[in-house]
């Protein structure tokens, strides 16, 4: 590109090093992407200007739709439109609430992890989340013009290990470098902490679509410490929608609805709930598939009565968080409200009543978590040093099964992470050479009441008298809250060691299938990158040709000028078109760049001559020889 070199010598310098990182709030109902641009955290928009992207995926015959497009398909195609998939992350078939009616075709299998039959085949929650994350990644690339170098994904503080592993895995499947899983309330506190920049103790009340998270944090000398976390993984805005939906059925005397009608009334109930945050009374009407018309009016008082028990259920975890942090209500400096569901007046009133003061709501409760994640991502890729450090805690106790189905706790909940703890166990039979280790998570005393994370067998223990062998089991929780377990026989010098990562309820076959899928994503990723690179090159050459024309158009005759302008126009049209197919679109742009280069060859030569002539003017021959 001869033209580039002489027209814009300052453009040839290396692009300045700024790592773009993004924060993703992967929500139950909606997801958002945020990044820090010139020092300010902003939520990115999709091509339609929307900031909240519905966390929904529709699996069509030959088409995958995510976000608003999936939302539109939800009513006509509920069985293939997966919503609130976050609730299924790291969960088994047995965990499904039997009272909730889902429009999906679950695959009922004995190994019991959740799988859903869709038109595009069997999908598990990790794959569905990966599809949402891929969509968000592409949105970020489109908006930022480059691949993000890293991402922070938020998770409910109360997520257990299986749920965290599942989330991180989904991120990796989507081709993202996951720098950190960040607890949602912590992210919110970061967003507010940046605003206030003052030390203090904060309680974050985060009521999202599917979960309630309560965290107490202290900001002190640049270190954010999480003092305690509490919450309810099965309580959120969706439950309020569902309660209202049931009430509508009751009031209108409806039963035996089709899947389409159920989906319609559920989304109408959600809308109704939102309207009741603004109005005292809302009229409701819907036409069912059998042409029956439902007309109802629901008042806020009525609504608040039917959801009262849900509101009260959200207050319990506040007490627990305070107890765990060893604090009284009046020792808190601020109460922060997060999550769309905190727009409900009944919720705000109940929280205000409990604490005896009004909570902070100045940052949009839908966006505050994504903003915090974006800020943390920016720090982690090294754009901002020495700002603050986050010391998080593990939300649930980790233990191991001992004789009689009892749990021996090894790491108590609310321990600051990262953390490593070891505990010694022994054999109970003479000559015992193997020991099975069962890792569980939860607060209860009995194994059957806790969540099973992993089971493995330690073999190769040298035969000894019962009680002689010393087996050390160590648990390591990293900064993401992810666990790995190690077991070692200590006494004999013979080391039998095994390292286990909990498998979050997926079998080898499923993991294999997902890896396969991610490889096919990878080729798409390469095409995406090549296309982006072609775009960058095209913009650069267009820019420099334009500048050269402004400076030196007089060097060209009319035919040359027309030819260059024509080539520019063709390239401009090509880069502005939305690519139907990345591979061919990228190649087309490359070809047009070549054509423009070719068209400007003689222009470049003429400018070179002019530049040399100018440089020589007024100089002695002797100077030139050097």
């Amino acid at each position: 590109m001869a033209l580039l070199q002489i027209a814009e010598p300052d453009m040839s310098g290396a692009p300045h090093q700024h790592n773009v990182a993004i924060g993703i709030d992967l929500g139950t109902t909606n997801s958002l992407v945020a990044t820090v641009k010139s020092g300010e955290a902003t939520v990115l928009c999709d091509s339609n200007g929307a900031r909240l992207i519905p966390s929904m995926v529709n699996y069509g015959d030959d088409r995958l739709s995510v976000g608003h497009e999936a939302l539109r398909l939800r009513i006509s195609d509920p069985a293939n439109t997966l919503v609130s998939i976050k609730r299924f992350m790291g969960r088994g078939f047995a965990d499904l609430d039997p009272d909730v009616v889902y429009p999906y075709k679950f695959v009922a299998k004995s190994d019991a992890n959740i799988q859903i039959n869709t038109r595009a085949g069997i999908k598990n929650p990790i794959a569905v989340s990966a599809d949402i994350l891929t969509y968000l990644r592409k949105l970020a690339v489109e908006s930022l013009g480059e691949e993000p170098s890293g991402v922070v994904i938020t998770v409910p503080a109360y997520f257990d290990d299986a749920q965290r592993q599942a989330t991180k895995y989904a991120g990796e499947l989507a081709g993202l470098k996951v720098l950190r899983l960040l607890n949602e309330p912590t992210a919110a506190a970061i967003a507010y902490g940046l605003d206030n920049k003052q030390d203090g103790t904060f309680l974050v009340y985060d009521l999202g679509g599917g979960t309630l998270d309560v965290s107490i944090l202290r900001l002190n000398q640049g270190v954010f410490e999480v003092l305690s976390v509490s919450g309810d993984t099965q309580l959120g805005g969706d439950d309020f929608d569902h309660r209202l939906y049931c009430y509508i059925l009751e009031k209108a005397n409806l039963s035996q609805l089709t899947d389409e009608d159920t989906a319609q009334l559920l989304s109408r109930a959600k809308l109704l709930k939102e309207q009741l945050a603004e109005k005292e009374k809302v009229a409701f009407s819907a036409v069912l598939s059998n042409k029956r018309i439902v007309n109802l009016t629901i008042s806020r008082t009525e609504y608040e009565t039917i959801v009262k028990y849900l509101v009260q259920k959200t207050i319990q975890p506040l007490k627990k968080a305070l107890r765990d942090a060893k604090l009284d209500k009046d020792q808190l400096d601020e109460i922060i409200m997060v999550g769309g569901s905190t727009r409900m007046l009944a919720i705000r009133q109940a929280v205000t009543e409990f604490f005896g003061r009004a909570p902070l709501t100045s940052i949009n409760p839908d966006e505050v978590v994504a903003i915090g994640a974006g800020i943390q991502a920016d720090i982690l890729v090294g754009n901002k040093k020495d700002d603050w450090l986050l010391l998080d805690v593990t939300p649930l106790s980790l233990g191991v099964e001992t004789m009689g189905g009892l749990v021996e706790k090894i790491i108590p909940r609310n321990s600051t992470i990262p953390v490593v703890r070891a505990q010694d166990f022994t054999t109970y039979k003479d000559g015992q050479t193997a020991m099975s280790v069962h890792v569980v998570q939860g607060e209860r005393e009995l194994v059957k009441d806790c969540r099973s994370l992993a089971k493995f067998t330690l073999r190769g223990i040298p035969p000894m008298v019962a009680g002689q062998a010393r087996i050390r089991i160590s648990y390591q929780i990293d900064a993401d809250g992810l666990l790995s377990v190690q077991a070692k026989e200590m006494t004999s010098g013979v080391v039998a060691q095994i390292e286990v990562k909990p498998s979050y309820g997926l079998n080898d076959e499923q993991i294999g299938a997902m890896l396969q899928a991610s490889i096919s994503h990878a080729s798409e990723d390469i095409q995406q990158r090549q296309y982006q690179e072609a775009l960058v090159d095209a913009r650069a050459i267009l820019d420099s040709v334009e500048k050269a024309l402004i400076a030196d158009a007089d060097l060209l005759d009319e035919a040359e000028l027309t030819q260059i302008n024509h080539a520019c126009m063709k390239l401009r049209i090509a880069i502005e078109q939305k690519p139907l197919e990345l591979d061919s679109a990228g190649k087309k742009i490359r070809q047009l760049v070549e054509e423009l280069n070719h068209a400007t060859d003689s222009f470049a030569a003429k400018r070179m001559d002019k530049a040399i002539n100018q440089a020589l003017t007024g100089k002695e021959i002797a100077d030139i020889d050097n």
């Binding site: 720098l179 000398q221 992470i417 703890r421």
Partner: protein, 175 residues
Amino acid sequence: MNNELLKQDYFELFGLALDYQIDLGGLQNKLRALQKQYHPDNFAAEDTEVINQALVISSQINQAYTTLSEPLARAIYLLQLHGVIVDLVHGTKFSNEFLMAQIELREQISEAEDSGDFDALEQIEQNLQNESTIITAKIGELFIIANYAEISELVKQLAFYKKLEQLVANILGSM
């Protein structure tokens, strides 16, 4: 990264003398300073190996902090540094008086739990904490005169009270 840190005992790591009396505020400040240096988040953009190394050191710092900040764990750890291993499970001889008091406390707790008496449980919790404070103070005095045998006995008593405290906290948390 500084692997020497892993060889230091917890007191050295936190720049403290081998002393049972500890300034908790100072301990917290030191924790923050150390974690600002060694927490894996400081190395998020680096290779896995560096991150793993930071993970090990950072975990050790947290473990040291937890041990030093809790009176029971601190006493057991300090005894260990003085060559005295406390066996909390075996060979414990308590006075009849102590055992009777323990049984009585357990009865009070289960009575309050059965009748759902939140206030009574909070009162019991307060009493237990007071008892722990008294024992902790005694342990502090005994460390000054290096009476490790006596400390070992008190540590076992303290472990009993801590266990009850935990029990009450769990009951209160689930009420």
